[in-house]
């Protein structure tokens, strides 16, 4: 039971790392390697809110998400759209976007080091035990999990029930066909990219309550997010959510039952197994 709860809490954190990238890669077809840096920027926002303004770091979600939305929209509009326009194939866009966002990740790290310095940042917020079935868990983790759950549900509902969501899903499945039926693909992609950035920054703010972070930590989050979305299937947000929780539960089970040193190995074995037997991911469709 304890393992299951720990795993679910960890899965919630993973979902926060991966959902934004899922939107950006699934819909806008941009493999955003600066994803982790955006997340760390969200963490810095929360840190600054807490230590500078003495406001709850969770309040920083609103400005952080809005700012990230605007910044990511601008990045898509002015940096990535030329790449989309000139790309002759999906493969070329992927290569170009990986290179472009890889470069952006360095810029973001540099800016954050210049602004905040390179040391570790950590603060205590809601670091109180909260008992579930007689076992203590960190309250900050539970709140972050709650935030993650709300985000997952809202996003999933919005994507499946709303008209815009339908358009985004259409683009995710087949951009050419979506264009043919009157969906503005570039607009939908820009929206997905900006929204993805906002989700990632929100995740960063929530995670900062219990993670120690520094300006160059982003790449770790990017790697985790990458595993999760490929594991879950690139074109379906449910895949990323389910994959996050599977990964969380497996990692905490391995840590508790076998050896904490093997958590990374377990995650990668799972990843390889999925690639071998279901290369399109858990929820992915066979390539069309």
């Amino acid at each position: 039971m304890d393992i299951l709860i720990l795993g679910i809490l960890l899965g919630g954190s993973y979902a926060l790392m991966a959902l934004g990238l899922q939107l950006q890669y699934g819909v806008a077809r941009i493999m955003n390697l600066a994803n982790g840096e955006v997340l760390v920027a969200g963490s810095f926002g929360a840190f600054w809110f807490w230590t500078g303004l003495k406001l709850s770091p969770f309040l920083s979600i609103v400005p952080a998400a809005l700012l990230a939305f605007a910044a990511n929209w601008l990045v898509y509009r002015y940096v990535l759209r030329p790449l989309v326009r000139r790309a002759k194939s999906h493969g070329q866009l992927e290569v170009d976007s990986i290179l472009a966002t890889f470069g952006m990740s360095f810029i973001l790290v540099g800016v954050m080091i210049a602004v905040f310095g390179g040391e570790y940042f950590s603060y205590s917020y809601l670091a109180r035990p909260f008992e579930i079935f007689g076992q203590p868990y960190g309250l900050n983790r539970i709140v972050a999990f709650g935030g993650s759950a709300v985000l997952c549900i809202v996003l999933a509902l919005w994507l499946t029930r709303s008209r815009t969501g339908l358009a985004l899903r259409g683009v995710a499945v087949n951009p050419t066909a979506a264009g043919l039926v009157g969906i503005d693909v570039l607009k939908a992609s820009a929206l997905a990219f900006a929204l993805g950035g906002a989700v990632t920054a929100t995740g960063g703010a929530l995670l900062s309550a219990f993670l120690t972070f520094d300006a160059s930590l982003g790449v770790i989050f990017t790697m985790k997010a990458l595993i999760i979305i490929i594991f879950g299937g690139v074109s379906d947000i449910r895949g990323a959510i389910v994959a996050s929780f599977i990964l969380g539960i497996v990692e905490s089970a391995v840590a508790r039952l076998i050896d904490p040193g093997l958590t990374l190995a377990a995650a990668y074995i799972l990843f390889i197994a999925v690639l071998l037997w279901r290369p399109q991911g858990l929820f992915g469709r066979k390539s069309a």
Binding site: D2, I3, L6, L10, S13, V109, I113, G117, G118, E119, Y120, F121, S122, Y123, S124, A127, R128, P129, Q135, P136, Y137, G138, R141, F210, L211, T212, D214, A215, S216, I220, E251, S252, A255, R256, D259, P260, G261, T263, L264
Partner: protein, 396 residues
């Protein structure tokens, strides 16, 4: 546009070169350490501020006193991106392209070992600080230009065992020790050194596991350690996991009378995050903060950098630069061979006390410190005076 920019830069560079030539004598000092990557957070506390503080202080008093007159320091910094390959390239670049007069030793055990052959090849003194190893004897025999001053793994593990034995003798704790380590050269070497030492001291290691570098979800580890019902908890940990283990131990209610985490326990950020709850926590390092030299150093660091130094390797890093300064001034030129010989033969007055290298190793260092009333005091050392008695941790 690009061509225009290039020509502008070229003009600035030429102007700078001419301007530089017109100035008085200058001594070039290079430094390469992480500004990004996993070790950047530690270097930003322990390493870089001390280099900047020292350069600022030396230049403020007119520079280093050479026979030819005073020479101001020009500092050249490189980011090794926490990558040994980059570190080697950066040191090589400093020696061959920038042609610096001296190079500050890099940050981290692995990085000092990786760059040692380059320092040796180009004949630069390497005053290693943040390098804890049991291979000191082998290395100093192989490289005549390397110096160590922070201690060896065996001494560190031995000092922890010594404190646990003392607490057991007082009847505060029993024999059960839970031990974890980060799966990285530092953590593995310390855990391997500690196992036989703890067993020999009669302790039973009831939980013994490692976790990968960079793991921050340590609740399963802390819960499993708690389930083993230990009397003492020892973690050979790195900064992010030191923070995570402490927070989880608080949340899970791991109430042991002796709680030890290694690197970063002595960081001001550790106290800032956990406040009074870390009273009695043990950690690697420590200093004697009450000496006048140390008080002056803390004040100067706070004034110039804007933050307090850590309670361990910060001061030692600064001391290594003081040694370099005194050796250069003692020789009176930038003759590196003479400086190395001078370092081997002389005793240096530093912020951590007198330092003398014996076979290129300073044998006086702090091994364990403890948070007592908001200050991280050294409680165990080899040959440094002023150790405080160990207190028993009273819950969180």
């Amino acid at each position: 546009m690009v061509r225009h920019l290039v020509s502008t830069f070229a003009a600035i560079a030429v102007a700078a070169a001419i301007g530089g030539g017109a100035h008085a004598a200058e001594i070039k000092i290079g430094a390469s350490a992480p500004k990004t990557g996993p070790l950047a957070g530690g270097a930003a506390v322990t390493h870089w501020p001390n280099i900047r503080l020292w350069v600022h202080q030396v230049n403020a008093r007119g520079g280093l006193k050479l026979k030819s007159g005073k020479a101001k320091i020009k500092l050249i910094e490189y980011d090794d991106r926490t990558n040994p390959g980059e570190a080697i390239k950066a040191i090589q670049r400093l020696a061959t392209q920038d042609k610096v007069d001296f190079i500050v030793a890099p940050f981290g055990t692995g990085f000092n070992l990786a760059t040692a052959p380059i320092f040796a090849r180009y004949g630069y003194p390497q005053l290693a600080v943040s390098a804890i190893s049991d291979k000191i004897e082998t290395l100093t025999k192989r490289y005549p230009n390397i110096f160590f001053m922070l201690g060896s793994t065996t001494t560190f593990a031995g000092a922890v065992a010594d404190i646990l034995s003392e607490l057991r003798k007082k009847g505060v704790i029993g024999n059960r020790v839970a031990m974890v380590n980060v799966a990285d050269a530092f953590g593995i070497e310390l855990a391997n050194a500690a196992r036989p030492i703890f067993k020999k001291a009669g302790f039973e290691i009831v939980y013994d596991n490692s976790y990968p570098l960079g793991t921050q979800d340590l609740s399963p580890v802390v819960k499993a350690a708690k389930a083993a019902k230990p009397d003492a908890f020892v973690a050979w940990s790195y900064p992010p996991d030191t923070f995570a283990l402490t927070e989880q131990a608080k949340i899970a209610g791991l109430d042991v009378k002796a709680f030890y985490t290694a690197v970063a326990t002595c960081f001001p950020a550790y106290a800032a995050k956990f406040g009074k709850s870390i009273e009695g926590n043990l950690g690697a390092g420590g200093i004697n903060p009450d000496t006048p030299e140390m008080k002056a150093y803390f004040a100067a660091h706070k004034k110039f950098i804007g933050k307090s130094p850590d309670y361990w390797a910060s001061a030692v890093t600064y001391a290594s630069l003081q040694i370099l300064e005194q050796a250069i001034e003692g020789v009176g030129t930038t003759d590196r061979k003479a400086v190395i010989a001078y370092i081997k033969k002389n005793t240096f007055k530093t912020v951590i006390g007198d330092v003398t290298y014996k076979n290129q190793n300073s044998e006086k260092f702090w091994t364990v410190g403890q948070w007592q009333n908001g200050v991280f005091y050294g409680v165990r050392s080899t040959g440094r005076p002023g150790a405080k008695p160990v207190k028993v941790k009273q819950g969180w």
